[in-house]
């Protein structure tokens, strides 16, 4: 058995990002889309932490702190939008939300 390398982490994060992207692109429920977006955030964070581990540099971890803060802000805003949208149109289905469609 070899040792843990950067490529292992990069491939894991690519797969996690792909699963998140599949969810974002195929699900109809907007809350599920936001949850899959969180998976993609996590994949990016794994990348940053892995690079910080395999280089003598801690900047990746510092950047991950900021990414987590941005993810928290994004979820708060996104769910606020979901609630106000549900109040107006009684649906969380992204196919039925087409107010701006002419």
């Amino acid at each position: 058995m070899g040792t843990l390398g950067l490529n292992h982490c990069l491939l894991l994060s690519a797969l996690l990002f792909g699963i998140g992207a599949i969810g974002v692109l195929t699900r109809r429920n907007i809350i599920m889309v936001l949850m899959c977006l969180e998976l993609m955030f996590n994949a990016a964070n794994i990348n940053l932490v892995a690079v910080a581990r395999f280089r003598p540099d801690l900047t990746g971890q510092v950047f991950t702190v900021f990414t987590i803060a941005v993810a928290a802000a994004e979820v708060a805003i996104g769910l606020g939008l979901v609630i106000s949208m549900f109040r107006n149109s009684r649906t969380v289905n992204i196919d039925e939300i087409h107010l701006l469609k002419g």
């Binding site: 699963i19 599949i22 809350i31 996590n42 702190v65 708060a76």
Partner: protein, 170 residues
Amino acid sequence: MELLFFYIFAAVILGSAVMMVTRRNMVHAVVWMVITFIGVASLYILLEAEFLAAVQILVYTGGIVVLFLFVIMLVNLGDIYQVEWLHRQWLPALLLALLLVTEIGFMVWVGAQDVPAAPEQSEAILRGLGGNVETLGMALYTDFLLPFEVASMLLLVAMIGAIYLAKKRV
């Protein structure tokens, strides 16, 4: 040994992520999401980022998951098994996402030759200064002070915006 644990955590992360994406019941999906986040936190510990592992548990499984659960309870959807859960363009979307994964995987595979071997002393700077938390705090409050303050401002703006958006009458 390290690699064995990596494979265990990777299996947990990817398995629960797949389960999460394919659940029709959103509460079940949230529970699978918790398992994914805990797997990612374990991976952070393996990658010697102890502070971020704690933050991951606190912010994601403690904050974001609870927020999602609140919204799922608030938005009562009735019988979820009756509605169609994938939208009409799911097949092209799936193919596009698979293409994306192949592309990233190919790039990692091509770049594999250029990746230098992992340094023996992984965080040489870290060891000199003390623990992970101490070093990270030092970096945050010296070199990254301005981004840190901007992030706090962003969180404040996001909080005000979320309250404004979710309010009954604007």
